[in-house]
């Protein structure tokens, strides 16, 4: 346990040193806040963009707070997922490239502690940024649109956190197999995209799929109740993430050379 804490400490220093601790929360907050703001200023933006024929009138219904929050969700789903994968792709690849992984592993550290410290540090940073960003977005939504109940907000946030956990576990697992960081991001994003595609193509067979998380979170926002299917999706995502983590440790144990 003590060694794990030491490794975790090292990971957090690393996060500070490469600036991830600054840019990730800020970028997520910018993405989050811009959603309610652009929805609010949509008429002015259309006005500025011009090119409308004289006398044309467009009436845009004002979205409810829940709709704006689910819009922010879909932003996290696209740009956010890309950022999460980009932010985590380097964690193992970088240490393998500059050889410091060998220095760590010759000490009495086992693979569980090593991979665990990496996963926990990344998850802490990503989840913290997501929570910050989502709370700010919620605040703006309450200010500019209809207020959203905080319990609804919180449960959709918790739901969405599982997607982040899944993304991190996939990226770290791919990171134990592949050496090159750009390839890691590419393969994991491809895998996530494939899951989302399969989920939308075969909705009957993929009810458990992690790709459903965003849909479930949106449903939670709109219908305001926690359904049975939400539990299935959360359960399967948590299990899959755990399996991916264990698989990553197994792959690392097989290394002949780091």
């Amino acid at each position: 346990m003590n060694r794990f804490l030491t490794l975790l400490h090292k990971e957090i220093t690393e996060l500070m040193r490469n600036g991830k601790l600054i840019w990730l929360p800020i970028v997520l907050m910018i993405i989050g806040i811009s959603q309610p703001l652009t929805s609010y200023y949509m008429p002015q933006i259309l006005d500025m963009a011009g090119n409308l024929p004289e006398g044309a009138s467009i009436t845009i219904p004002t979205p409810t707070g829940e709709e704006v929050l689910s819009g922010a969700m879909s932003q996290y789903g696209t740009i956010g997922t890309l950022l999460f994968a980009l932010a985590t792709m380097n964690v193992i690849a970088q240490e393998r490239q500059n050889g410091s992984i060998t220095l760590v592993m010759v000490r009495p550290v086992n693979e569980w502690q090593y991979l665990g410290s990496k996963t926990v540090a990344q998850l802490a940073l990503l989840l913290l940024s997501l929570i910050l960003s989502y709370c700010l977005t919620w605040y703006y939504t309450n200010l500019l649109f209809t207020p959203v109940d905080w319990q609804v907000m919180l449960s959709s946030l918790v739901m969405y956190c599982f997607w982040v956990i899944f993304v991190v576990c996939v990226t770290i697992f791919v990171g134990t197999i592949i050496r090159q960081s750009s390839a890691i991001a590419g393969v994991s994003l491809l895998f996530l995209a494939l899951i989302s595609l399969l989920t939308s193509l075969l909705p009957k067979f993929m009810e458990w799929s992690p790709g459903n998380i965003r849909g479930e979170a949106t449903k939670l926002l709109v219908e305001q109740q926690w359904t049975e299917s939400a539990w299935t999706v959360i359960g399967s995502t948590a299990t899959l993430s755990l399996l991916l983590f264990i698989a990553g440790v197994m792959v690392m144990k097989k290394y002949k050379r780091y």
Binding site: I22, W23, V27, I30, Y40, Y41, Q44, L86, Q94, Y140
Partner: protein, 66 residues
């Protein structure tokens, strides 16, 4: 530009501040860095003129890990 007066700047200000923090921290980090992937002046231009994504790209691929 009367549209500019319609905008409630108290609402937009946090967005601009966040943007400024991001740009400045990326710039400082870039200038302090001994070597970057690719020419340094290119990264400075990217950070300054490509909104949001310039700084992200710099942090993700621009830094050379020593």
């Amino acid at each position: 530009m009367e549209v500019l007066n319609d905008i409630n700047w108290a609402l937009v200000a946090p967005l601009l501040i966040l943007q400024a923090i991001l740009t400045i921290s990326a710039l400082v980090s870039c200038i302090k860095q001994k070597e970057t992937n690719g020419p340094k002046w290119m990264w400075i231009l990217l950070i300054l003129f490509v909104n949001l994504f310039g700084a992200i790209l710099y942090f993700v691929i621009g830094r050379k890990n020593s």
